[in-house]
Structure formats: C-alpha cells, structure tokens
Amino acid sequence: MDHLRFNLNGTWVTERAVPPTTTLLRYLRDVKGLPGTKEGCAEGDCGACTVAVAEAGADGKPRWRAVNSCLLLLPMVQGKHVVTVEALRAPDGAWHPAQEALARALGSQCGYCTPGVVMSMFEATYREDLDQPWKLDDQLCGNLCRCTGYRPIRDAAQKIAGACPKDRFTACAPESMELHYQAGGQRFVTPVTFDALFDELERHPDARFVVGGTDLSLEITKRFVAPPKLVSLEGLAPLRVLEESAAGFRIGAGVPISELEAWSERRLPSLHRMVRYFGARQIKHRGTVGGNLCTASPIGDLAPALMSLGASAVLRGRAGERTVALEDFFVGYRKTALSPGELLAAVLVPRVPDSARAVSYKVSKRRELDISSVSAGLYVEVDAKGVVTLARLAFGGMAATPKRASAAEAALVGQPWTEASIERAAQALSKDFTPLSDHRGSKEYRALVAANLLRGFFDETKDVKQPRLAPGHAATVQAGAEVRGA
C-alpha cells in the first residue's frame, strides 16, 4: 500500500501527505484536534501520551496494547486500530469501566496524567493474564502521576483488571502492515517478506532499520532530526517467532519485550527477572529483543542476561544466516558485528541444565522504568561434588559494552561453590572492570554493587537454583533466608 490507512477511534482513516516521521501524538493533537492525549515528556518516560493500539497477536486474535504515542511514528499504526481517551465513552454516554473506576477512586487530581492512566487501565481491562499483583505494577509503572501517590490509581486498576467486558472494543479486525510510503521528502517502508526487505535495502542502502521506535524516535522528539529513509522490520513474521526444542530456544529479534516477558516466565526464569524491570509496559510493547541488542548500549539489559545463558546471535543477510556468540556480537561502544545489508534475526538460548544456577539483576536508582546503574546475568554450573565447572558472569554498565567478567569467572571455575570462592570472584572483578562515574552512579558504587551482586547471587541460589522475584521484594537482589521462605 502506498498510503497510510489505519482505524482511529472506530473509523478507517487514509493519509497521503503526512510526513512519516510525524509521531502519533502530534498527529492526534495537531492534525486531528484530539487534545485529550497529552505530551508530558516526549520520550516515553511519563505515559501521559498513552493510547491503545490493537494488532493481530501471534494467535491471530487482536489484542489492545497501551503504547506511548509520543514515540510511535504514524506509519507504525498501518493497518492497526488506535483508540484514544476521547473514544472510550459509549455512544449512549456510558462510561468505560476504566474511566468510572478511576474517577470514583479519586485517581485523578490535576488530571494531566489521567488520559494516559486511563488508557493503561483500558489495556488492563481486556487482559486475561493479570493474575498476580506484580503484573498490575508492570501494567501501570509507565504512567507517572505527581499528585496522587498512586494508591487510588492502584485501587481503581484492581477493580477493572481482567474484567474483559464484551463490548465494541472486542470486535476489531486489523489489516496488513505492508507499506511503501513517501511524503514530505521522507520514505517509510514496511516489507512483509525478506525478499522485499533485501530489495529495499539494495535500492536504499542508506535506509535505517526501525522496529518499535522506542530509541530511534527520540532523535525526532528530542533532537528534532528526522531520518529521511526508514525500513520497518515490524511486518516480518519470521522475526516474531518464539520456538522451543530439545536443544533450546529461538527468540525472534522482532519479538516485543512484553511477549518475551510472558513467554519466559516459565521457560527462562533468569531472563524473566531482567525483563520484569526492563521498562514500562508501553515500552515493552514496542521495544524488541533485536532493538535492545542492536542498540549495543553499554548497559543493554538483555545482553548480560542472554550472555550469561550462553546465547548466540543469528545474523541474516540476503545470502542466508550465520551465527555468532553473543559476546562476539558487541564489537565496541555501540558497535555490532552486523555487516551492511544484514540484520539480527534471532537469538538462540540453550536449555539451562539442572546443574546450573542462574539469575539476572538490574539495579537502578528507581526500580521501575529506569536505566540500569549496573545490570548482570550470572550463571554457574556446579557438579555433583559441588565444584564449579562453568561460570558465565556478564555485566552491563561496567564497560563500553556489555561484557563477561573473565577474571571473576576464572576465579570460580574449578573451585568449590562456597562463599569463600564467591568472595574471591568478587575481589577479582576489579581486574575485569574499571567503571565510569555518571549521573546514574559513581564508579565506586558500580564496582561495589557488581561485587555485591555476586555475593547476593550465591546467597539467593542456595536453595532454589533459578529463584523468582518474591512479592514485595525490597530490592533487585533477594538476599536472606527470610525472603526465600516467603
């Protein structure tokens, strides 16, 4: 399709002239005159711009997802349904349960964050998997409120979570995302086959990849620079696979973090712990495995978690696929092993054997929706005699790339799995890393926390080899018998 077509508040809309780097937020407010959706930060950190988007899920069933409209470029809703706060009230004037619950709980004071809160609650209304309290935190942590202190918002959200009313929002039929769009001197293409993708890359080798846009859109909203040519990988179904075999798992690079979160909970508890505090729900819906890895940030939360699990990266070009160990994927500060014309297709993760202990940690100033000061994926295999046979200790925020701590690993392998050994490994970390100070943390704090994460890892895996986050946990590291007993 050569024009934009999407469903906005129940009506199919066509656009032919809106530049493709226009964000959905600016489009709603400036073009459509729908000012209910607010700009609070233009970077996906406050949630005031939250709207709901429905697209076909892996099972073909459309699902509503709360997303940050400030980071969503208009072509990214091609073929999808978009609902804004203005459209929640029924034609007969009846309030949507999310609206009524929030107002009755006095969950709004100034009201500026409220449309976004309502839209996050809107998603919660139709979710069937809100079975644990932490999932409600996860659902709403992307909506900052400066007035209420959140208690009434929580009360309201609990009332409607998973209510799943059969209403007009349950009947929607998303269309294909395929798009070849040009407007205002900018180009945006969403291919749905690899052939079409590689054709586009040959014609436009200077085009940039985009999937969820949670990182790239910041160039537009913060630096006011619009990339002239974008190729979206969102329409490529093979990038969305989550496969499981006897050998291990294949995680498609286009898998959104929120899908990875649900999928990994039972299969890869260590990865799941990293994903839990990865970002807000809105970000997790748009951010992808591939996007997080290819950004090659020094922190890159998924990278240390996956490296510790022995993951490798599947790179795909026109000629076919090649596989590299994940630690070899990061070749320098924000540099990867991808060649021009190549993309990250998937990550392969071997199964975690019974002899292994594995946990991932993310330490940040604020628990939710923050960038790590230090992140870590910690993994050891211990044989029947209690000797460490393999150690993969990967850290983020400690060097120019996510990196394994080879000195600390060496200090462990061949040693008994004891507190004394872990202490020697903790001491060895100073040979592995010389962290920097920045506004997220001083180098002294980073060094101390990295060592303490090893200590906590030992303590936490005494009884359970891949412990999950307990309800009400005080910190990323759940050290102490009292927590494990909870």
């Binding site: 005159g33 729908l34 000012p35 209910g36 607010k38 700009e39 609070g40 930060c41 970077e43 950190d45 406050c46 005031a48 804004t84 706060v85 929640l88 309030w95 999310a98 107002a103 006095l106 709004s108 004071q109 100034c110 009201g111 500026y112 409220t114 449309p115 935190d137 942590c141 909506n143 900052l144 400066r146 007035c147 202190g149 959140y150 208690r151 918002i153 929580r154 913060k222 100033k365 604020r366 628990r367 929706l369 960038i371 000061s373 506004h439 002294e444 704090y445 101390l448 926390v449 303490n452 994460l453 906590g456 009400g472 005080a474 910190a475 990323t476 590291v477 050290a479 102490g480 927590v483």
Partner: protein, 786 residues
C-alpha cells in the same frame, strides 16, 4: 454536564428528614470524570485561535556572560518566522521579578544563568521557530560563574541580608548540656515535575488589550507583570486560568516570564501567540525547590531534653530573588517543628548563584527547616541511646512557658501529643518495632527500620497582607449558579471544596453549580493560590457571597410560602428546596424562588471577601504572630533496605493527619497521600545534577526520577484526625496542601534506623539526602566497616 456526585448518599433526601449538605461528605473530584474522558482542557489544549503563532526562546548557553551582540537578521529571514524579539522591543518595564525587580524578561546586556532568555523567535510552527533560533547569532563574553551553593558561600554572593530568630542565651544553654551535637546538614533541590509544563496563550483583542490563558497559580501577578512590561494599565490585561496540570508552587511566580513573552509577541505581531515549554526546556529553565545547607550545634541532656539550638541556614536562591526571602523565613519559622526550643539562635541567608531562580515548592522552606530538627533529634536518639519516639515526645510543646515559638507565637491547641498517642496505638508501633528488631537479628543482607515523626506547620502567608480573598457568585433566574473565586485549580481539589461550600450555603446540589475558570475580570487583586491557603481564604469569601444571595432570597421565599417576615429566618435552604422545618410538605423548589426573585427585581450577583484577622510579623525583631493556626500530623514509616545494593522499599506507612473538620475528606486524603509520596521522592530519589558549567544534566524524566507506581508503600494507611474542628476557620477545617509533605521525614528516620542495624550498636549513621540506593549503600558500608 459532568458533575460530581456524593459517594455515599447520592440524591437529595426529602425535606424534613434533615438538611442535606455535600459539606464534610466524600465527594468525587469536581473534574474527575472530565479528566478520565479527556474533556478537561488545559491551556495547550485550547483550540488555536485564527492566525495563532508559536514561539521558541533563544537561551543563553552560558551561566554567566556579557551579551556583547545579538544579530537577529538571519533569523528574521527564516521562512515562517514572523518576529525575533529582544530586550529592545519591550515597551515598558523589562522585569518579571515578583518582589524585587531583579529579573529581566529578555536579558539586555548580561546573562545570569544557562538557559536565560535573550530573544524570542515567533513563527508559524515550532520547526520554523527552531530554525530561527539556530540562525540567531549571539556574541557572549563569558564571565566567571558560581554554580554551587558552597562556592557562593565562599565568595560571599548573596541575595538577602541575614534573617534571625532568637530567644534566650544559647551559648549558656549549650555549655550546660550533657551532650553537644554539631554538624552540617544538606537537603537538595527538587523539580516540580508538574505533568503540564509552563504554557500561556496571549490573544490581542480590541481596545489595545490582551486576553491571556495561562497555566499559573497567580493570575493577578501575571496580569500585573504583563501590564508593566507593556506599559499598560492592568485593566487592559485579562488572565484566565482554565486549570493547571499540577503546580506545587512551580507556577506561583514562574509562569510569569513565559506569559510576558507570549504577551510581548502577541502585541508585536498583532496575532495570538502561544508560548509552551517542552519538558527539557521547563526543567532546564525554571526554578526548583531551594537546596539548603545548615550548620548547627545542639545541646541535649542525657534524658533527651533539648536545651539549646544554634543553626545557620543557607539557601541557594539561584540568580534572582524571586520568593527566596519568604521561603527562607518559613524555613526559620519551622526549625522548631513541634518542639519547644528553650534557647535558640537561628539565622539564615539566601545565596546568589548563576542557576535558574529557585522558587516556591510545596512547603515553601518549611520542609528544609523541619528536616534539620528531625535530623538533629534522630542523631540525638542514636547517640544518647534514647528511644526516638520518647525523645520526640519529651521535647514537644507543652504548657506555659513551654508553649511559645522562637518567634513568640503562642502554640494553642497543640494536637501532637494526642496524634502521637493515637498513631502509636493504631500503627502497632511498639509491636512492630520488636518485629523489626527480630528481623534484623536474623537477616544478614537486608535490614528493616521503623520510625515515627511529627509535623507542625504554620498556616497563613507570612507576608500578612496577602491573606485576603474574593468571590463572585452569579445566580440565574432558573436557579443555576456560576461560582467564581480567586483561587486556581491545580488538582488540589479547591474547586470541589468551593462547590461544597456554595452548595451548603444555598442548599443546592453540586449539580446545580458550575465553578468557573479563575479570571482576573471576575475577582480582582487576588493572591496566589499558595501557602495551603486556597480553601481557607477563598472558602470564607465564597461562603459570604452565597450567604448574601441566600439572605436576599429569604424574604422572597417567605412571601411565596406565606411565612410572616418575622419567621423568615427559620426557613431552611436544603436539598434544592426552601421550606419551614415544621412544614416540609410546603417546600418550594429553589428555582421557583429565584424565578420570583428575578420578577421582584432582586439583585442576583454577590461578592464575598475575607481577610485573615489578627496576624502580623515584625521582620526587624523576628517576633509576631505570622500564622492564623498550626496544622498537625504524624507518620510511621517502615522500610526495608538491601545491604547489597542500597535499594529500599516502603513496606508500610501509617499517617494520622489533622485537617480539622474536613471540608471534603476524599479530597483531603488524596492531598495527604500525594504529599507524602512527593516528599518521599524529594528525600529518597529525586536528584538534580548540575555540571561545572551550570548545565542541568538531569533535565528529563529519563534521568530525573520521581516516584513511580511501584514506589508507593505496599500498605498505605491514611486517617484524618477525628473530632478536630478548628475554631475560626471555614467550617472548622484546616489547610492541607503542604503540611503532609513533611510526613515523609519519617521515612528518612526509618532508613537511618535500618542502616544503623548493619553496624555495631551506638555507631552513628551518616546518611546523605536524597537517600538514593547509592547514598544508602555507602551509609551501610560505613556501618559495616571494621
């Protein structure tokens, strides 16, 4: 129209079964449903008037520099740019300093902070304006800059004289003490992070006048400063505030610079102009809570009695005076919190730095002062080994002569002893303290802490004449009412409270009343909606205006009911009806009375006015009665700290807070909860990091973290003090906006308690504020050190 309903008793009861009033009832927020539907409009949401232009500020890249030249020719040539305005374009006074005239709207020859406006580019679109900004050529001669409070102190850079409160012989008292504690104590700045950034729309209208729509807590001051800027009279400028998406003090004075810029541009181009700051601009350019440094010496007896306190407070005012002196005063006024200081000498001074001008923020210096004494008392309990709750109780204000503040105001009706007793009981404090100790004995890496702290907060503007308010009630023949008052709605629920008062006085349901946008053409010469005073002051004015209307309707109703004039005073106005209690079956609908009043040519608009009686303060002597009364409260916080990462969590918070006889308890509870979490953010996460050039590195929520959903305590129990009606305040209520902010100091005391548990008994805790995970972990390390 969307209207709040009474949560527990919707619908009016029949006359005769007792008057129905929404007052003291659990009302919903007056705009709550409108917030959830997106219908609620903020300034940036208003439909663009025909021909509207937008603007972008050209800001200084240096913290301190001489502006040698400013070439705007290229910028004016950028397509879509309509005007580039500089100081030379200002026809009137180039000032937006609210108290002292030391703040230029557009810098003329010197810039005093990084981000100061030197020019304004006005254009068709933000893109055009940004291109225009890039094309402005400014020539700066960089001057030495002071970008830290410590540097300002070292260089003697000041914005005020020394302010002082003094009583007794402090030196002698300290000399007599068993133990003396001295030290330095710091609290940091805090960005308001109102979700709606600064915004004003200025529309030129006929008669050489302006209509402004502004997100401001102080429309009258915006009106005044705009008039001065243009060399106009105030009657040429009308300012309307539809509502604010949060204020917290950040829009008391600091909406004005951007309102002035929008006004200047509107007058110069003859077209409507909107000035809106994006988040990064707002955070970089506007002032914040004042960071404070305090040097203190305190003397205690072994039993924990405080005998003397000497303290020197220094605040970072930023580059201009703004409200810094009054904020410093309030810090001094609250150095006592709820404690009697037998001998005291406390001084304060505002430092001048090359940073944005720091300003009002919920508590207005009170938190910074109160944090000092709470810090001192917590230290004392650690050092003396005295139970911290007992130590606080021992030092509370008491019977004469222990009932007089350092500024000689008598503390009447001190509710802290009662609140402490009740809260200690309802929060299970003693039992939980034992549980915390048991947990700490068995847990190696995580420790818990529990603490109870009080708040006593003085209510009134300390600049006495500001304590005035007006209202205008407009009644139509059909019985519907438009209510105007001088206060602004920023989410705090002021309009809901005013609605309840008006409904009560006229016996109407809230559905019959519309609270109008605050506007300078309805109520003139208003004070800022600030100092927690909005309901106290405006509520009295609303009550008076509505009483006037009711009393004018009374004889009309009496005639209609055939009630002798002598008995007219017995008529009740309730439930939308007017009736004699003895003959409820003859009740008249309210609209019948107003319809008849119109026919009888009865005037149906009325004003109300209120000024707080009997308050005064003499700055020269540091003595007086600056406050009409005090608000009280206390909180118990329980935290858990990780000794591995320094991360921590609020496990449970219990609050008992005194709002008198609450006007609207649902609103007040929301204020208490929200204030607590905002205070907790200030004390534990929010951290402004400015580099050596004066550039704020934490200028967006990416790096500046306010509390998020999961930071709220797992278990949050807030109760309002019962049987607590306050004399001589509107319907027995008390102000609520600011006081509960300081309840969060209990969390700091609890964190110290937890940190202490990592080390040997008696080792003093050294914990910096904000208590970020990093600060906490280093404090834990000091406890654990051999």
């Amino acid at each position: 129209m969307l209207k709040p309903s009474v949560g527990s008793q919707s619908g009016a009861q029949a006359p005769g079964s007792g008057p129905v009033t929404p007052l003291h009832q659990p009302l919903l927020h007056e705009s709550g449903l409108k917030h959830t539907s997106g219908e609620a409009r903020y300034v940036d949401d208003l439909p663009a008037p025909h021909g509207m232009l937008v603007a972008q500020v050209v800001s200084s890249p240096h913290a301190h520099a001489r502006l040698r030249g400013l070439d705007t020719r290229k910028a004016r040539a950028v397509p879509g740019v309509h005007a580039v305005l500089t100081a030379a374009d200002i026809p009137g006074e180039n000032n937006c300093g609210p108290v002292v005239h030391d703040e230029e709207v557009l810098a003329k020859d010197t810039v005093h902070f990084l981000g100061q406006a030197v020019a304004l580019v006005v254009g068709d679109s933000y893109e055009a304006c940004r291109a225009g900004v890039a094309a402005v050529q400014a020539d700066y001669e960089v001057l030495p800059a002071i970008v830290t409070l410590d540097d300002a102190l070292a260089k003697g850079s000041w914005l005020s004289d020394e302010h002082k409160l003094e009583r007794g012989d402090v030196a002698a008292a300290l000399a007599s003490a068993d133990v003396r504690l001295s030290g330095e104590f710091r609290t940091g700045g805090q960005d308001h992070f109102y979700l709606e950034t600064q915004c004003t729309l200025a529309i030129p209208v006929e008669d050489r006048s302006l209509e402004l729509f502004s997100s401001t807590q102080h429309p009258s001051e915006v009106q005044t400063l705009v008039a001065h800027l243009l060399g106009w009279h105030r009657n040429q400028v009308n300012v309307t505030v539809p509502r604010m998406g949060g204020g917290f003090g950040g829009k008391e004075t600091q909406a004005a610079p951007y309102a002035c810029l929008a006004s200047l541009a509107a007058v110069k181009t003859g077209r409507p102009v909107k000035v809106w700051l994006n988040r990064d601009q707002d955070m970089m350019w506007t002032g914040k809570r004042h960071p404070f440094l305090t040097r203190y010496e305190a003397g205690f007896m072994k039993d924990g009695s405080l005998v003397g306190l000497k303290a020197e407070l220094f605040s970072d005012g930023g580059f201009s005076t703004d409200l810094s002196r009054a904020i410093l005063d309030r810090a001094l006024f609250h150095i006592d919190n709820g404690y009697f200081l037998p001998a005291v000498r406390v001084t304060g001074r505002v430092a001048k730095t090359n940073l944005p001008s720091n300003t009002a923020f919920r508590g207005f210096g009170g938190p910074q002062g109160m944090a000092v004494i709470e810090h001192v008392l917590t230290r004392a309990s650690e050092v003396l080994g005295v139970d911290p709750v007992a130590l606080r109780r021992k030092n509370f204000y008491g019977a004469a002569p222990r009932n007089v503040t350092p500024f000689r105001q008598e503390v009447k009706d001190n509710r802290l002893p009662r609140i402490f007793d009740e809260l200690e009981h309802t929060s299970d404090y003693r039992k939980r303290l034992a549980e915390v100790d048991a947990f700490n004995a068995s847990s190696r890496w995580n420790k818990r802490g529990l603490a109870m702290t009080p708040v006593k907060f003085g209510i009134s503007f300390t600049t006495s004449f500001l304590n005035q308010a007006g209202a205008l009630a407009v009644l139509y023949a059909d019985g519907s009412l438009q209510l105007n008052h001088g206060g602004t709605e920023m989410g705090q629920g002021l309009h809901t409270k005013m609605l309840a008062i008006a409904a009560h006085e006229l016996g109407l349901s809230p559905q019959a009343i519309r609270v109008m946008a605050t506007a300078t053409d309805k109520v003139p010469n208003t004070s800022a909606t600030a100092a927690s005073s909005g309901a106290d002051l405006n509520g009295q004015a609303v009550k008076q205006a509505c009483e006037t209307l009711r009393e004018r309707l009374r004889p009309v109703a009496a005639r209609l009911l055939g009630v002798p004039a002598a008995n007219a005073k017995e008529l009740l106005f309730a439930g939308g009806r007017v009736f004699l209690p003895s003959r409820p079956e003859l009740a008249l609908p309210f609209e019948k009375v107003t319809g008849e009043a119109y026919l009888q040519q009865v005037p149906m608009s009325a004003t109300g006015f209120y000024k707080t009686p009997d308050i005064h303060f003499d700055k020269a002597t540091g003595r007086g009665k600056p406050f009409h009364y005090f608000a009280y409260g206390a909180a118990v916080s329980e935290v858990e700290v990780s000794g591995l990462t320094g991360e921590h969590r609020l496990r449970r918070v219990d609050i008992l807070h005194d709002v008198g006889a609450s006007l609207v308890p649902t609103i007040d509870k929301g204020q208490v909860e929200g204030a607590f979490i905002q205070g907790w953010g200030w004390l534990t996460i929010e951290e402004l990091k400015t580099d050596e050039k004066g550039f704020l590195r934490t200028h967006s929520p990416d790096t500046y973290k306010i509390p998020a959903f999961g930071d709220a305590p797992v278990d949050f129990r807030v109760a309002l003090l019962t049987n607590a009606a306050q004399d001589d305040v509107i319907h027995g209520s008390k102000a609520v906006g600011e006081p509960p902010f300081m309840l969060a100091l209990s969390a700091v005391a609890a964190l110290r308690h937890a940190v202490a548990a990592f080390g040997p008994k008696g080792r003093e805790v050294q914990l910096a504020i904000p208590c970020t995970p990093e600060a906490v972990l280093f404090a834990v390390e000091r406890q654990r050190a051999p």
